[in-house]
Amino acid sequence: MGDLDDALITFTEEAKELLNEMESSLLALEDNPGDSETVNTLFRAMHTIKGSSGLFGFSEIVAFTHEAETVLDQVRNGEKTIDDELISVLLGCKDHTVNLLEHCICSPEEGLPDELKSVGVKLVTLLTGNEPNKGSLSAISNSPNAPVENMGAAEDLAECWLISLAFKSDAFRMGVDPLSFLRYLKTIGDIQNVLVITSEIPEHDFDPESCYLHCKVAFKSDADKQTIEDVFEFALDDCDINILPPNSKNEEYLALLDDLPEDHVPRLGEMLIEIGVLTNNDIDKAMQKQSTAEKGGEGQPLGAILVEQQVAQPSIVEKALEKQQKVKKKVAAEASFIRVDSNKLGQLINLVGELVISGAAMDLLVGKHGLSDVEEVAETMNTLVSNIRDIALDLRMVPIGETFSRFRRVVRDVSKELSKNIELKITGGETELDKTVVERINDPLTHLIRNSLDHGIETPEERIQAGKPEKGNIELTARHESGHIIIQIIDDGAGLNKEKILAKAISNGIIPEGHKLTDQETYNLIFAAGLSTKAQASDLSGRGVGMDVVRRNIEALRGNVNIDSVAGKGTTITIQLPLTLAIIDGFMVEAGSERYILPLSTVEECVEMNSGEWEVDDVQSYVNLRGAAMPYLRLADYFGSKKEQKGNRQSLVVVRSGGDKAGFVVDELHGEHQTVIKPLGKLFEHVAGLTGATVLGDGNVALILDVQGLIEKAKA
């Protein structure tokens, strides 16, 4: 019964129940042949199965049960006596009906197999004493005794809406009269057939003021579902109404489904409402059922509920789901990527860089010649150029998640190898950064994570001893922060051993004895070349050659790395990286006739240096800015350019990197500047405090400052 139509489940169950009842009634009749009530039960069973089968268009069952029903009717009316012979024939009828039912449900497309047919003919002959005429088995008899619920052949029903009305017992008292609906239905279409289900009427305690009637109506109309549903609008509270669109409409609906726009992924309900299979009311009911079911812990897809409630044909629901999948795929395909040679992208970025530079040149000339009418055009162009720049750079942005998720495997394998129990948590995987940065951060990250796995997280035994959960955690997070991306590797391991690091650093001659390092600086020593505290190097890390390489790699990306640790609680490694390597929004300053560019995102504020409002400690190079003391650095002095102080109006540019602040003293502020980063030549690579250079509009070169590095210098 694998592909049993869901809509039929109720029918099948009901029919099987009735047939079982029929069997036991028949067996009871053997002992007590005169029991009219039992005969009645038999009659009702055949009667109801015939009616429901008609609804589903199982004409074979209808035809066969009709014969059995006729005989039972005769028995009931005393025209025929029931004897053992008839009982065994009727038992055969019951079995045959079961088989027919099975056949109709499992393979509704196929005709009756010969075997079933011949059994049917035999039984009918035994029942009636006549050979069934061809007509009565294939079509429904039109004899005057024809049952009321003979709803007509399947072809007729195909055109009909099937409306089930299950009235609640209070319906009459609430002033709801089923008849009025039928009468009203007549005004918007043809009632092809009505089946009144009377089986709910109780034998005992019949309360004539309660409603026990259920109706199934085959209704032929051109009206849409909403119109039909509106007929029952004011009875919604007193009646469960299911309206199943006609089969003949299926094709129309399927066509409509096909025509639905494919620009977004629609929800199943939305689609079905749009093509008119369902009304909002249907969906509301189904959703309500769904949420109740979910609360009960047995969730069910909406489609299944709709079919079960008999408000939509399974075929349409299936098709709609198919369509949904298709649209989903299509939308996904549309949103997918085209492969572009990264060189082409590189060229584009370079060109955009040139465009930015020549835009700046144009600006300069416009300003120089005071061409106010050109200024506006130039302004527009600059806006466009910066938009193009952003988009071009954005092309190279990729989410870091993919890189991150590769570490799941690393963590899994390594923790197995080390027999540790470690879980990796990833957050912020959607954070985007330049593809080249992503590629080049992979190795350092791998190294850092292995380090955490190897040295950071303790073995399960150690962890339990330390009163921590057996399972260690490593968290990998990424987020944007003021024009940078911050990547953190947080573990809840043992933390760094300060004493060990210091001892090692001193013995390796990295720091002198009697140093005055802060904790932070001590921890950062592990990035120094030639320091490994682990007595025995493992495969994974700890050769003392890794961490300094990590730092170099990160610094090569104009980023920096910091480590913080609490003994026994864990270690946090923070990597700060620029979003892109190509173009930045810069802030241009001038000191000693040289121009310098600071990344705009690092600039906090600019104030007048010698305003007398702040205390300036010239000896220690500290300035007390509104109560916050910070080191300052005279850029002209630092880079050794000629001192040529224009007047005395120097400015202090306050910059921040990470948690550190410092001031740069400059002669002049030139303001924002789109900066295309050009790498410095080999010769200048080792000049501290510089990360690159850029070409200005007038052809001059400006140096791009390494803010983090300069802050360190200022503090020193």
């Binding site: 009219s36 009530e37 009645n40 009931r76 005057p144 005794n145 024809a146 049952p147 009321v148 619920e149 009459f172 008292r173 009269d177 089923p178 008849l179 039928l182 009468r183 009632i191 057939n193 009505v194 089946l195 009144v196 009377t198 009427i201 034998e203 019949f206 309360d207 004539p208 003021e209 409603c211 026990y212 009637l213 109706c215």
Partner: protein, 109 residues
């Protein structure tokens, strides 16, 4: 009184229902009619006087019919009024009751 009960003989009871069979009258009518429904007897319901019948009234008739079958009572409806015919027809219950419906002359005009 909406119901006239005439006992024709030991076996045949003849009941004429007047005016209406609706939610407002069904309780009373049921209480009157049920005693008339005796096992192995016959009950004839004359519906000629029923000017109005609603679903509740029809449900009562359906119940009576079912009950009659249980009691082996030959239960029949006759002289259907136009209102009754319309409802029986609407609900497709003609053959359920199995009574011959005589359409009065001029019916449906």
């Amino acid at each position: 009184m909406a119901i006239d009960v005439k006992i024709k003989s030991d076996l045949i009871t003849h009941v004429v229902i007047q005016e209406e069979m609706t939610i407002y009258t069904v309780l009373e009518q049921k209480n009157e009619l049920i005693p008339c429904l005796k096992a192995d007897a016959e009950l004839q319901l004359d519906l000629s006087g029923v000017a109005e019948i609603d679903s509740a009234g029809m449900q009562l008739l359906i119940y009576m019919k079912q009950e009659a079958i249980r009691l082996n009572n030959r239960f029949s409806l006759y002289h259907h009024s136009q209102a009754v015919v319309e409802v029986v027809d609407l609900l497709n219950l003609t053959s359920f009751f199995g009574d011959s419906i005589v359409l009065p002359v001029g019916w449906g005009e």
